[in-house]
Amino acid sequence: MVKNKKILFIIIAILALIPIITRTKAVLNAIILLLIFATLGEAWNIITGFAGQTSFGHAAFFGIGAYTSTIVFYRYNITPWVGLILGGIIAAVVAAIMSYPCFKLKGHYFAVATLAVAEIIKQIFVSWDYVEGATGISLPIIQRSSGFAKRLFYLQFNEKIPWVYICLVLFTAVILLCSYLENSKMGYYLKAIRESHEVAESIGINPTNYKLYAMLISAFISAICGSMYAQYILYIDPFMIFSLDISMKIVLLTVLGGVGNVFGPIIGASIFIPLSEFTRIKLGGSGTGVDLMIYGLLIILITCYQPKGVIGIVQKLTEKSKKTNVGGEGKIEATSGN
């Protein structure tokens, strides 16, 4: 526990220092996305890493969050801070409705069911006029000259630095919650359910209830990430926000970072988000798809040569000396600085 807290502190300190070292827009942009996706990864980790229920549909909760805060702002001019909580609650309700019947499904059947739910929700949003259907919504921009208090109230900033810190706070809160969960009764119970349903039942655990709690928390956090993302990029449409690609991106970075470990998502995100941003900036834009082609190739290479996830290497290194982990993070920073 003590060792983990140190690592966590180092990671957060490095991320907090980056805006002081460099103000390059591309780097800050990568950091913000990295934090949002790392937080999403943490959320996904609760239901899949801890409880062992593979979800391919987290884009649904992400999207519900993004749409809720956007709609309350766009239609009723209510601050996204309210929308953010509301989105979390709606996502949790949707999660409860979809999961309860799905929890009796095992393994891939559950995974495909989550994918199906996400696709249905996407279809609904595509043809729902209230949310502007397939056209998507551009968020109304508040005056450029507004003071910081007003900007904070409406979650719109002229520069990227406030976003870095807001996302960092969110990420820190979520990772603390996750490590608390991991070491609490609930964490133990979820892991027991993951390892064996029957054992869980034999020692007095109600698997359905605990999986449901895990799903609710996971959906709530994912929705908050969605709201943040929408506020940050200021434009959403159903194809982009509810896409299988988003769901898979969450799976990707968590699994390759280290599934079931609270540091997995941040490690995975620290590698994959800068990587995808880097390939996009250097090679994208021409619309030839060369960036995603290389990105795909890198995923294949990493999975082939480091199938146990990056956490495997990191754990090996930390066993030798704690400082190597800092070195690992520093390398990532250099990558994003390119």
């Binding site: 027991a192 020692i203 007095g204």
Partner: protein, 246 residues
């Protein structure tokens, strides 16, 4: 004295196969009851019926005056009946201590309290030196121990052990026997399914014999081993006839 657990006319069918037919017996407080019988006699099925993993076709299970027949396995466990599995199900990605702690969380939400319970249980079962070993890396004997320890950590009044001695060597069997007696001293009741007669007979207060889904007899160990039906079930009709002649 009122029995702690009462099995009343349990019948369990899988399609046309009758796995348990009209089985009744009781377990009293602070008693070791063993359930024996040849392979396929329906012992594990009965275990599953008692602990809510199966819904019996008919019959009742009464625990402490309460009908628990229709309850789910986790509700039954919360009431104080915990079972182990014949095919051990160690939580592989968790250490021995974490395995036991998972059980210990049943009656507490506090991690500290759970750690205390786990420590006690680990000491009692002799697993302390291995507490940081991952479940996946344990030997079969240790897995069986973890199985018992995890169940014990839920602080049951009745502990149900399903063939927890099979595959162990003499010393290890002796250790489990001692553990059972120790638990009895602490006031627990035990319901044990076992094949190893020399291990189970000395520690049992009562033996229930099943064959082909039916209860043949029950009684104290001495009477049961001399029972004609039991000898027939175990050694076959011909051997039985031969032994009668001589």
């Amino acid at each position: 004295m009122k029995p702690l657990l009462e099995i009343k006319n349990i019948t369990m069918k899988f399609g046309s196969l009758v796995a348990n037919e009209d089985i009744s017996f009781t377990v009293h407080e602070n008693e070791i009851v063993s359930l024996i019988g040849p392979n396929g006699a329906g012992k594990t099925t009965l275990f599953n019926c008692i602990t809510g993993f199966y819904r019996p076709f008919s019959g009742k299970v009464i625990y402490n005056g309460k009908d628990i027949t229709r309850m789910t396995s986790y509700q039954i466990c919360k009431l104080g009946i915990t079972r182990t599995f014949q095919i051990v199900k160690t939580l592989n990605e968790m250490t021995v201590e974490e395995n036991v702690m998972t059980g210990a969380f049943l009656h507490t939400n506090s991690r500290k309290k759970a750690e205390e319970i786990a420590k006690e249980t680990l000491e009692l079962t002799g697993l302390m030196p291995k507490k940081n070993v991952l479940g996946a890396n344990l030997t079969i004997a240790d897995r069986k121990r973890v199985e018992i320890a995890r169940a014990l950590a839920t602080n049951p009044r009745i502990l149900m052990l399903d063939e927890c001695m099979a595959g162990l060597n003499q010393t290890e069997i002796k250790e489990v026997m001692d553990l059972c007696l120790k638990l009895k001293e602490k006031g627990l009741s035990l319901l044990i399914v076992e094949h190893i007669m020399e291990a189970i007979m000395p520690i049992s207060d009562k033996v229930v014999v099943l064959n082909a889904g039916k209860k043949i007899t029950e009684g104290n160990p001495q009477d049961v081993v001399n029972n004609d039906e039991v000898i027939k079930a175990y050694l076959g009709e011909r051997y039985h006839a031969k032994s009668k002649k001589s």
